[in-house]
């Protein structure tokens, strides 16, 4: 579930919605199929990153600790 990421986005210390905004800016710049690891320790990120993936039809791979993994689907 935690595939080696192609890129890491460090959002530690940032409050929501900032980690989700950073994810939304970065993911479309990566190739389709690429995996982005978002480091975010705001508890809301664990809820909002999967929700964003659902709303934007991107693939949420999972969370371990403060690392959230997203794969660009389109």
């Amino acid at each position: 579930m935690t595939a080696e990421p192609d890129e890491v986005l460090d959002c530690l210390g940032q409050r929501c919605p900032l980690p989700v905004i950073a994810l939304a800016r970065r993911l479309p710049a990566l190739p389709v199929g690429a995996v982005l690891r978002v480091l975010a320790d705001d508890p809301a990120a664990a809820v909002d990153i999967p929700a964003w993936c659902r709303m934007r039809d991107q693939e949420f791979l999972g969370t371990s600790g403060t690392a959230h993994h997203v794969r660009r689907r389109q």
Partner: protein, 383 residues
Amino acid sequence: MIPSSVYLDAATAAPLHPVARQALLAALDDGWADPDRLYTSARRARQLLDAAREAAAQTLGVRPDELSFTSSGTTAAHSAVLGGLRGRRRAGAVLVHSAIEHSAVLHAAQQHTAGGGTAVEVPVDRLGRLDLDAWSTAVTGSGVALAALIAASHEVGTVQPVEAAAAVCADAGVPLYVDAAQMVGRMPVPPGWSVLTASARKWGGPPGVGLLVVRKGTRWESPWPADERESGRTPGTVNLPAVVAAAASLRAAAADAAAEAARLTPLVDRIRSRVAAEVPDVEVVGDPERRLPHLVTFSCLYVDGEALLHALDRRGFAVSSGSSCTSSTLRPSHVLEAMGVLSHGNVRVSLHAGSTEADVERFLAELPGIVADLRAEAGVVGL
């Protein structure tokens, strides 16, 4: 120019019902004495308290001696959970509760687990509906002393399958506690529960009055130090004028409940559909069908919940939010978390007897621009 104010947070506290105001003022003159004393003014206070209990019990369809007044809805919820567990401690120390209970119930559950007890949380689906299979598994487990289910979510409005959940409890011999704070005075509470609580300020009664109902035959033991008042269920002198006002307004609210629900349900439908259509990237959450008549919640992508609350307040709209930045703990709402829906940029709108179609229209007219401005300020347009 400061815009006229539109209060849209009835789920926290509805504006005082006119009947409550009238009863409160009368009872301040007539009901200040201690109902437990034996002189004339005390007997008058006792009559007022008895009449208030009769009225509230009749409205809820319970016996007067099953109903106690508490000093708040929170205290009632604490008493329900801790007293229900204490009364059944020989059966076990497991509390089963849904993942979307009110924080008052969860805090009581935390005290229970801190003291060595166990709490089992039952999940909900994306619409905030209880997972009945998981509920059944949890309730029929060993050592379950009490099960707690909120009648309808105070955050997203989803009405829970109380009757089905109660049937599972009855089969397992486990008493069911129902937190009916958002339902009492607005719609009939489904049957089958053993303990029920409510809060007067939710139906237009004054703040500082809760209801605790313990049905006959339920094993319930007060978790508080001994006190004879309110059948030994809740310590301290009741705020009698507020209790009188609470009971009078409950009766009035319940009498109007069906008409109010018929008036507010389409207004909430309008908010649900217009917000979804006219605000880009918004998630309207909760069950669109089986829901409270007066409450709707939505989350706006990329918007800071606190900033949205303040921007709405500057335009005269009072709403609440489940976003983490608006909570003292900086955690997102556990309800939104349990549902797996967007938690930031969250707004809860809840209507009351004074809410008009014009209020709703003005809110709907202004909201898209307010959200667009916040997104433009944050530089997130087009993401």
